[in-house]
């Protein structure tokens, strides 16, 4: 059973890692709620993140980043010695866009890590405004832990 974490502890932890992750800070991703089985981050509507000026809908890339970050945090809260920052990289990510985000509304990104092995973490989640069962986008992903120096600067590493 993974230990639980209060929203305050999570927010503190996020502040630290947000400081460490410029792109999350740039999009102003904020913790919204945290449970081992559902970690939620929030991105506020911002005009400079619009994908289509005619509809004023946020670009899909913002949803991608929101879910990618939420996936990362759903993995951290499942770590046996939580909170523990284990370096990892996104291995693959699939997003289905079900409906456009509503302009002027914040978007929530919720995620759960449903399987973890020594090397990999399997995650799923969705982006939504109020209800997770009325999603803007659904997503699944796989992350790989990158402990040790082998994957740093893996430009030449055959895959």
């Amino acid at each position: 059973m993974a230990p639980t974490m209060s929203l305050e502890e999570f927010a503190q932890f996020w502040e630290k890692s947000e400081y460490a992750s410029p792109y999350n800070r740039e999009l102003e991703l904020q913790p919204h709620s945290v449970r081992p089985d559902w970690c939620v981050l929030k991105v506020e509507y911002a005009r400079n993140l619009v994908g289509d000026p005619n509809t004023r809908v946020l670009h899909g890339g913002v949803i991608t980043a929101l879910l990618d970050a939420a996936f990362g945090f759903s993995i951290f809260v499942k770590m046996p010695q939580m909170p523990q920052i284990r370096p990892m990289a996104t291995l693959d990510l699939r997003i289905d866009y079900l409906k456009p985000a509503t302009p002027d509304k914040a978007v929530l990104g919720g995620a759960v890590c449903y399987k973890m092995t020594a090397d990999l973490a399997f995650v799923r989640g969705c982006a939504y405004h109020e209800l997770a069962d009325d999603p803007i986008a659904t997503a699944v992903g796989i992350f790989m832990f990158t402990d040790g120096p082998t994957l740093i600067g893996n430009e030449e590493l055959a895959r």
């Binding site: 792109y23 400079n48 619009v50 000026p53 946020l58 456009p100």
Partner: protein, 144 residues
């Protein structure tokens, strides 16, 4: 805003800056489009704000993904006259190598252009096109 008008004036001048400028998120990423003959390249200039992991350092997976999605959209606007922006239906990304703190390039292949849906393969690379850092595969719903 009529994207077909912007695209056709960009096509005439071969300066795609105005198209990028018309999409706020693409402007936020500071994207560039370079077209030489039939070769389309979208460029994501490196910026400190794109970093996801400062220890390596590595680009944020969401930044690489968003860039590739933009590249696909601009490729379609270059390829066809459409009044509305193509809409992403789904997007699959395989991250193959660490995105380093340097410029990233994307090339796009139209796998299939249907009447309503276009299927694209998007390859993002840094040092050389034969060493992609990420491969994207996506379906776009084509606009009117």
């Amino acid at each position: 805003m009529k994207f077909a008008d912007i695209s056709s004036s960009c096509r005439a001048s071969n300066d795609w800056g105005p198209l990028v400028q018309s999409v706020p998120y693409a402007r936020f990423l500071n994207l560039r489009i370079d077209i030489k003959g039939e070769e389309f390249t979208c460029i994501l200039p490196f910026d400190q704000k794109l970093i996801g992991n400062p220890v390596l350092p590595a680009l944020h997976g969401g930044a690489t993904g968003g860039f590739m999605e933009c590249a696909g959209m601009f490729y379609l606007l270059w390829q066809m006259d459409t009044q509305t922006l193509p809409k992403t239906i789904d997007f699959n990304i395989d991250y193959l190598r660490t995105g380093l703190a340097r410029d990233t390039y994307a090339n796009v292949v139209m796998v299939k252009q249907g009447r309503r849906v276009a299927n694209l393969r998007i390859e993002a690379w840094q040092s050389s096109p034969d060493k992609p850092i990420a491969l994207g595969h996506c379906n776009f719903m084509l606009g009117a």
